[in-house]
Amino acid sequence: VLDTRATLQRVLISRAATGGLDSNGARRTDDEPVVGAEVTIISPTGVSMPATAAATPGEYEIQPNQFGVDVAQGGAFSLHIRTPLGEEVTGTTTVPVAPAMDTVPLHVFFRQRDTLRLAWPAVPGAQSYEVVVQSLDMPEYRKFTDTTIVLPGTALTITGDDVFPYAPVNVMISAVDANYYDYYRAQSDPFAGTPPRGLTGAYGVFGSIAPMLVDQLQVR
C-alpha cells in the first residue's frame, strides 16, 4: 500500500499456505515471507525505484524522495516484482492527490452523550474513504464511507466491543484508491473466491491511501 504521508513505502510479499513445502523443504503451515525478491515501483513520470529488503522478512522498503518522487502528488504508480523462483507480479495503483492534513486537537468526547460527526471534501482520484478508530485497549475499528461519517459514542463493533472505549482514541480519515477499496471493503468469503485486486501474478493488493484527517478524542 502506498501511503502519501509515509517517507518509507512498504511492500509485503509472502506465500499463501497451500499445503505445499517451503523453501527449506518443510511443509508450510502459515504464510511464508518471500525473501530475495526484486521489487520495483515506477512513478507516473517513469522513474524506476528499486526497493531494499527491510528488517522484517518479506518486507521491502522504498524511499521515493531519494529518487525525487513525491507520492503525495498522486498519479499512476506501477509495481513490478520478480521472486527468486522467477515469478512475475505486476500491478498499478492510482494514488489519490493528498489533501492537506487536518488534525483536530485532543478533545473530550463523552461516550454516553456525544456522537462523532465528521465531513470532508471529496479528493480527486479517491474511490472511497476509510475511517480507522484506534485505541490502545481495543482492536481497531474500520469502515469505508463517502464524505461523511456519523458514529454514536455508544457504537459497538461487530464483535460487541466499544468503538470508543474509555481511553484516548485516534480517528483517521484516509482517501483510498479503487484497488484498496475493492480489496478491503468486504471480508473474505469462502464461497466467493478472491476479490478484485489490481494485481497480476499474485493475490493481494497494490493500493494507495492518502490520510487527510486525524481527530484525537479523550473518551469519558
Binding site: V1, A16, L156, I158, T159, A186, P190, T194
Partner: protein, 710 residues
C-alpha cells in the same frame, strides 16, 4: 305377519365426496329389510306391492361402489395438467416426520423435480432452477419466507393444510412472477358439523387446530403451533436456549346470499431469538416472521347467452403479505434488516362452454422491499437498498377440447413493471389421450421474474431470502420452458408420470459476490444458461393397506457468468431418488422414506493467507483488526462435488379410537442409520498436515409424540 329379513348390503362410499379427497371404503350392514337408496322400488305407495315384496325370498344385493374421482384423476381428464403435482394432506402426512414435525414443505421435497440442497436450507430448487424462482402461495396469497429456524421447518401448520398444488414447469398464464415453479398450499376445510380438531404434541412443538362446518357449505378453521424447547430448557438453566417460533393460521369460507362465496385466510408466524446479557455487546436479538391476510369473493353464474357458454365464475381477491427480519448481533454492532410489504388485488372471470373454458384475469401488485446491513460480513449481502415496485399483470387463458382425445390450453400473460419493462409471455400446453388412461403431454411457455433474492446460491446455508425488486438497472429475469411427457394410470389407484424438460435462461441475474455498497446497480451480475433433465413419478394412492410413491429426478444444469466462464450451478444435483411408503396394519401404520442423491457442486479451497491491513497511524502492516481476516484461495467455481447422500427415515404410529377421539402416538426416527451426509467442508491450511473437515447434515434423531383428533 310379514317376515323381516336382515339383508346384508355392501356399500363403498366416499368419505369426502364434497371435497374430492381420496375415497374411502365403508362397510355398512343394513339392519332391516329397507333397501338402500338408489335401489328402492319405484312405487312404494302400493300396499299390495309391499305385501308382495315382503313375501319374496330375501335377495342378496350386489356390491355398489360409489367412489369420488381422485383430484389427481380429475385433473388428468380435465386439463393438460403438465408438471402439476397435486398432493393431498393425507399423502403428505404419509411421509415420516422431519425432525419431529410433519412438514408440508419438507414432504414436497420428496416429489420429482423438487430438490433441497441440504437439511439447512430454506430454498427449494425446482428442475434445476435457483431457489428464489418459486412462487409460494397460501390459498393464492404470496408468502415470502415460509420457513422457520433457518430453513429446518416450514411455516405451514400440518393439520391446517388441505391440499398442495405444485407446478414444476410449463405453468399456464394465470401464474407469473417467478421462473421455475408455483406452490399453492390450500387450507383445509372442515365440512363436518360440530367442533372437530387435532392436537399434536411432539418433542419440539405443540399444535392445535379446531374447525367445523359454517352454515351451508361453509367452514372455519384455526390452528396454532409453538415450539417450547426454550421453556423446557429454561427450567434447567435460564436463558440457555432463548429461541422459539410460532405459527397461527385461520381460514374461513362462507356462502353468502345470491350464491356469493367468501373465503379469507390469515397467517402469522415469527421466529424469535433473544439472548439477554449483562454486557450490551453480548446481547443478540433476531426476529423474523411473515404475516399474510387475504380474502376472496367469488360467484358462479348460469344461464349465460349460448354464444358465451353455459356458466361462469367470477372471482375477486385482495391480499397483503408482510415479511420482516430484524437482526441485532453483538448488541447492535451488526444490524441487519430485510422487509417485504406486498399488497395486491386480482381477479378473474372464467366462462365454461362444452368444449371451451375461457379465462381472463388481472393482478395489480405493489411491493415495498428493503434490505440493510450496518457492517459488511461474509456470507451476507453487503448492500443497503430500499425499493418500491409496482406491477400490472393481465392474462387470457383458453382451454379447448376440440376432440375427446385432445386438449389444448393456450394463453398469454402481460406483465408490466413500472420503470423496468413490460413483457408478453405466451404459454401453450397440450394433452393427447392415446386411450382413457394414457396421455401424451407437452408445454412451452415464457416466464419473467422481477422480485428476486440477494441470497447467493453458492452458499449452502440459506436461512432466509432477502427479497429486492428489479429496477431500471436490474432488468427482469427471463426463462423459457419446454416440457414433454407421458401420464399413465396403470390402475385406478396407480399413476405413472414421466416428463422431460428443458429450461433456457436467456436473461438471468445472480447476486454479485463483490457487490459495492457505494454503487447502485451492481447488486446482481448477468448469467445465462439452461437446465434440462427428466423426472419420474410412480405413485400408489392409498386404497387400503399401502400407499406411497417413487420419484426420480435427473437434472443437468449449466450457467455462464458475465466473464463467459461456464460452470455447474450449486443446485446441479444429477440424480435424486425418493422412495416413500406407508403400510397399514390393523393396529399400526409404518411409514418409511429413503433418499439417495448424488452430490451437488462446491468450490474447493486451495489455500489461504492472512489479510494484513495497512496501519496509517504507524505506517506499518498490522493484523490487529476487529475480526481475524483469512483470505481463502479457491479452485474453479463449483469444480468439485460433494459425495453421494442417503437417508432413511421411518415412523410407526398406533391408532386408538376411544369414542369420537382418535389417539395416535408415534415414534419417528430420522436418519435411522446415522448416515454422514456432507453439508460442506472446512479447510485449514495452517494445520500440519492441512485438514479438511466435513460438516455433517442432520444426524440420527429419534422422536416420539402424540396426535389426537376428534
Amino acid at each position: 305377519m310379514s317376515r323381516r329379513h336382515v339383508s346384508p348390503v355392501r356399500f363403498e362410499l366416499s368419505q369426502h365426496l364434497t371435497t374430492g379427497l381420496v375415497a374411502g371404503v365403508v362397510l355398512l350392514l343394513a339392519l332391516a329389510a329397507r333397501p338402500a337408496a338408489g335401489q328402492q322400488p319405484t312405487n312404494r305407495d302400493s300396499a299390495e306391492k309391499r305385501d308382495s315384496l315382503s313375501r319374496r325370498r330375501p335377495v342378496m344385493l350386489p356390491t355398489v361402489r360409489t367412489e369420488a374421482p381422485r383430484t389427481e384423476r380429475r385433473l388428468f381428464t380435465s386439463k393438460p395438467n403438465v408438471s402439476n403435482l397435486s398432493v393431498s394432506a393425507r399423502d403428505l402426512q404419509r411421509a415420516p416426520r422431519f425432525f419431529a414435525e410433519a412438514d408440508v414443505l419438507r414432504s414436497l421435497q420428496l416429489m420429482p423435480g423438487v430438490e433441497a440442497r441440504n437439511d439447512f436450507t430454506a430454498g427449494m430448487n425446482v428442475r434445476g432452477g435457483e431457489a428464489d424462482q418459486n412462487l409460494i402461495l397460501l390459498d393464492g396469497y404470496p408468502v415470502y419466507n415460509p420457513f422457520h429456524f433457518g430453513g429446518l421447518f416450514g411455516t405451514f401448520i400440518d393439520p391446517a393444510v388441505g391440499r398442495v398444488d405444485m407446478l414444476t414447469g410449463g405453468f399456464p398464464a394465470p401464474y407469473g412472477g417467478r421462473l421455475s415453479s408455483v406452490l399453492n398450499v390450500r387450507s383445509a376445510e372442515e365440512d363436518r358439523p360440530g367442533l372437530h380438531g387435532t392436537s399434536e404434541l411432539s418433542l419440539i412443538a405443540s399444535t392445535l387446530s379446531l374447525g367445523g362446518a359454517l352454515g351451508s357449505g361453509g367452514s372455519w378453521l384455526i390452528a396454532g403451533r409453538r415450539t417450547y424447547a426454550d421453556q423446557a430448557i429454561n427450567l434447567v438453566k435460564r436463558n440457555a436456549f432463548p429461541y422459539h417460533f410460532f405459527d397461527l393460521e385461520g381460514h374461513v369460507a362462507y356462502t353468502l346470499p345470491a350464491s356469493f362465496r367468501f373465503s379469507a385466510t390469515g397467517y402469522g408466524g415469527d421466529d424469535l431469538l433473544h439472548f439477554d446479557a449483562s454486557t450490551e455487546g453480548e446481547r443478540q436479538h433476531i426476529l423474523w416472521g411473515n404475516r399474510v391476510a387475504g380474502a376472496t369473493l367469488s360467484r358462479p353464474f348460469t344461464g349465460l347467452p349460448a354464444l358465451l357458454g353455459d356458466s361462469a365464475v367470477f372471482e375477486q381477491r385482495v391480499s397483503q403479505s408482510l415479511f420482516e427480519l430484524s437482526t441485532q448481533i453483538s448488541g447492535g454492532g451488526l444490524d441487519l434488516r430485510s422487509n417485504v410489504r406486498d399488497v395486491r388485488a386480482g381477479g378473474s372471470i372464467t366462462v365454461y362452454a362444452p368444449t371451451h373454458t375461457h379465462s381472463i384475469g388481472y393482478e395489480l401488485a405493489r411491493q415495498r422491499l428493503g434490505y440493510s446491513v450496518s457492517y459488511p460480513v461474509p456470507l451476507f449481502p453487503v448492500d443497503s437498498l430500499e425499493q418500491r415496485v409496482a406491477s400490472v399483470s393481465a392474462y387470457v387463458d383458453e382451454l379447448w377440447r376440440p376432440r375427446s382425445s385432445l386438449m389444448i390450453e393456450s394463453g398469454v400473460r402481460y406483465d408490466r413493471v413500472r420503470g423496468v419493462q413490460s413483457t408478453l409471455l405466451p404459454r401453450l400446453s397440450v394433452k393427447y389421450f392415446m386411450n382413457e388412461n394414457f396421455a401424451l403431454t407437452a408445454a412451452v411457455g415464457d416466464y419473467a421474474q422481477w422480485i428476486r433474492s440477494l441470497a447467493r446460491e453458492d452458499i449452502p446455508l440459506r436461512p432466509v431470502d432477502y427479497w429486492i425488486g428489479a429496477d431500471s438497472l436490474t432488468p427482469m429475469s427471463r426463462a423459457r420452458h419446454y416440457v414433454f411427457g407421458i401420464e399413465r394410470w396403470v390402475t385406478p389407484s396407480r399413476q405413472l408420470r414421466i416428463e422431460g424438460f428443458y429450461k433456457r435462461y436467456s436473461q438471468l441475474l445472480e447476486p454479485n459476490a463483490f457487490d459495492d455498497p457505494q454503487k447502485l446497480g451492481d447488486e446482481f451480475v448477468p448469467v445465462k444458461g439452461w437446465s434440462t433433465g427428466a423426472d419420474l413419478l410412480l405413485r400408489q394412492f392409498d386404497t387400503g393397506r399401502f400407499g406411497g410413491w417413487i420419484s426420480y429426478t435427473y437434472t443437468l444444469n449449466s450457467r455462464i457468468d458475465a466473464s463467459g466462464y461456464r460452470f455447474f450451478p450449486s443446485q446441479d444435483r444429477r440424480h435424486d431418488v425418493n422412495v416413500v411408503g406407508s403400510w397399514k396394519f390393523p393396529r399400526y401404520t409404518v411409514a418409511a422414506r429413503f433418499n439417495l442423491a448424488s452430490g451437488t457442486p462446491y468450490t474447493r479451497m486451495t489455500g489461504q493467507f492472512g489479510r494484513v491491513r495497512y496501519d496509517p497511524f504507524n505506517q506499518a502492516y498490522t493484523t490487529e483488526t476487529n475480526l481475524p481476516e483469512v483470505q481463502f484461495l479457491t479452485g474453479p467455481r463449483n469444480g468439485e462435488r460433494l459425495p453421494l447422500s442417503q437417508r432413511l427415515d421411518v415412523s410407526v404410529t398406533r391408532n386408538f379410537s376411544p369414542g369420537r377421539l382418535t389417539i395416535t402416538p408415534y415414534l419417528s426416527i430420522m436418519n435411522v442409520y446415522n448416515a454422514h451426509n456432507v453439508f460442506g467442508y472446512v479447510y485449514n491450511y495452517t494445520a500440519l498436515p492441512p485438514t479438511r473437515i466435513s460438516l455433517p447434515q442432520l444426524p440420527i434423531f429419534p422422536t416420539i409424540g402424540l396426535s389426537m383428533s376428534w
